[in-house]
């Protein structure tokens, strides 16, 4: 009951936030929070639920971003289909990557994802006929679309806000469904012990490939959105290791293998990142890194995990009070 109420309140806040607070900076901040929520949710499915730590998730973000961009610029495909196709292409690319990297376990898997991500970045940098190499791709105008009879004004950030809000809801609902069904249970089994998982009939190769594909799909969609929102992509902007690491941080700080974790992680880290950037100019990464160390040391289950424990304690206390009263 309480949960449904919380969700309804959350949805209302999500719906009216940009109408109530009109500052473009604030809307931009919320767009970034939501986009990073999707990226954190993407990483969380593979890294949190299935326990396969990837250092190369920027690959899928980049694949989505370039797909959407190239389809729009070269084939005139509407970006709103393009974003979805970006997710699909990222998913397809994840299959051979899974085939290569899932031969390895644990830290070796993680290192192989890092290596693959670097290879993909170098390919994007050098395949100039497709990606324009280091120069990057730029969109000058977005297509005219009207909504409820009104032409949409792409110079305002608000339409982008609603688009990413819908994508975020899809990501969270997808995570919820995964966590509630057999698929999600299988992913947890993978994380815990691959031999035991096999012994009870789980095709662990298939389960890992499914986790990676779902994860890549979400990162690809977020990437497609990223390209449309910033209207510019180049290999260093979308394939950099920094992005992969950021996704991992958000999922870990928020709380691994939880539905709401990535949202919390993104709220904390994106706002913190922005304000550190504002206050400390060049040194902001030091503070950011320091915060990460403290968070991981004192909240190994993430903020969401920590909150859950606190809630449970509070509830217990209440029950005890009722008992004595």
């Amino acid at each position: 009951m309480k949960k449904t109420l919380l969700i309804i309140i959350g949805l209302i806040v999500l719906g009216i936030a940009p109408i109530v607070i009109r500052s473009p900076f604030f809307v931009h901040l919320m767009i970034m929070v939501l986009m990073w929520t999707v990226l954190g949710a993407s990483w969380n499915i593979l890294g949190g639920y299935a326990g396969q730590v990837s250092f190369g998730h920027a690959t899928f973000l980049g694949a989505g971003a370039y797909t959407t961009m190239i389809l729009y610029l070269k084939c005139g495909v509407d970006p709103w289909y393009g974003i979805f196709l970006g997710g699909l292409v990222a998913m397809v690319i994840s299959l051979p990557i899974g085939f290569i990297c899932f031969r390895l376990r644990g830290p070796y898997f993680s290192l192989s994802t890092l290596a693959v991500a670097e290879i993909v970045r170098l390919v994007a940098l050098n395949w100039e006929s497709l990606t324009a190499g280091p120069v990057g791709l730029l969109i000058t105008t977005l297509p005219g679309v009207s909504f409820l009879g009104q032409p949409i004004n792409w110079e305002s950030k608000v339409p982008f806000y609603y688009i990413i809000a819908i994508i975020t809801l899809i990501a969270l609902i997808m995570t919820y469904i995964v966590s509630r069904t057999r698929v999600g249970a299988y992913l947890l089994a993978l994380r815990e012990d691959i031999d035991s998982a096999e012994s009870i009939g789980i095709n662990t190769v298939k389960a890992r490939v499914v986790a990676l594909a779902l994860s890549a799909f979400l990162a690809g969609i977020a990437g497609g959105f990223y390209a449309m929102y910033l209207r510019y992509v180049d290999p260093d902007a979308v394939f950099s290791i920094g992005l992969s690491v950021e996704m991992l941080f958000i999922a870990i700080v928020g709380g691994l293998a939880t539905v709401g974790g990535p949202l919390i992680g993104a709220i904390v880290l994106v706002t913190l990142g922005e304000s550190f950037r504002e206050h400390f100019l060049s040194g902001h990464l030091i503070f950011y890194g320091f915060f990460m160390m403290v968070a991981i040391r004192y909240m190994p289950d993430g903020v969401w995990g920590r909150l859950n424990v606190l809630f449970k304690k509070l509830r217990l206390k209440k029950d005890v009070n009722h008992g004595t009263a």
Binding site: T181, Y186, E192, D193, D195, E198, S199
Partner: protein, 248 residues
């Protein structure tokens, strides 16, 4: 036709022949004991017939169909489940979640899988611990959890790898009753144990392996007085052994 028919199974680790031209059959409804000194190759036999490691040679027929070369998960689908000598629970999941995961093999809905898991937990007397984390169980409970998880996949053949290892005498008696009970419910069992005594009263038949080779296949009462077996277990000390006295 035997339920499980192993023919000429061979496995080398480098120069070491861990299992050597091993053949045996498991009949439906029996408890077959598989014993041998430490390092005899018992665990390797289990890993071979459940597909965890590939054999160099040999056939493994389950209900007449060759399953050699299949992956462990598909062997589980075909109705053969194993436990691990060194227990491998899903440590950060609860006991109920551990067993439900296995029950998902035959039930796609979580509700059905959980109901099946609860039934199995009742049988192995772990139902009181359903909400406990697997990592918080005692060794004896973790061994029972191994059995529960294998059982929840609804197997025809259950392979138990030293379920008594590390247990005290009371727990051993308790576990023996459980295994016999599982057999009575229609599950065929192959039971590996290092010490013969533990399974003496439960097995219908015992196979003894030594250095990866089968050296005996007979009822348990005969095994304990068989000179070849005694020699394998006691080595040179066999000379000082008085005839007719059981080895354990």
């Amino acid at each position: 036709m035997a339920l499980l028919d192993v023919q000429g199974l061979t496995k080398c680790f480098g120069g070491l022949k861990a299992v050597s031209d091993l053949s045996f059959q498991v009949n439906e409804g029996e408890i077959l004991g598989l014993i041998g000194p430490n390092g005899a190759g018992k665990t390797t036999v289990f890993s071979l017939i459940t597909g965890f490691i590939p054999a160099n040679q040999g056939k493994i027929l389950l209900e007449g169909k060759d399953i050699a070369g299949l992956k462990p998960y598909s062997i589980a689908h075909k109705g053969m489940a194993r436990t691990f000598q060194i227990v491998k629970p899903f440590r950060k999941l609860t006991v109920l979640e551990n067993v439900s995961l296995a029950a998902f093999l035959r039930h796609s809905a979580r509700k059905d899988a959980e109901a099946q898991a609860r039934r199995v937990l009742e049988r192995v007397e772990l139902i009181d611990k359903a909400e406990a984390y697997a990592s918080d169980l005692t060794l004896s409970e973790q061994k029972r959890l191994e059995i529960a998880r294998a059982l929840a996949t609804n197997p025809k053949v259950l392979l138990l790898d030293e379920p008594m290892g590390g247990l005290n005498p009371t727990e051993v008696d308790h576990a023996s009753i459980l295994v016999r009970d599982i057999c009575k419910s229609g599950v065929t069992i192959v039971w590996v144990e290092h010490v013969l005594k533990a399974i003496m009263n439960s097995c219908h038949r015992v196979i003894v392996i030594h250095h990866g080779e089968k050296i005996a296949d007979m009822p348990p009462e005969e095994v304990v007085t068989n000179p070849v077996v005694i020699e394998a277990y006691l080595g040179k000390k066999a000379n000082s052994y008085k005839k007719g006295e059981p080895i354990c």
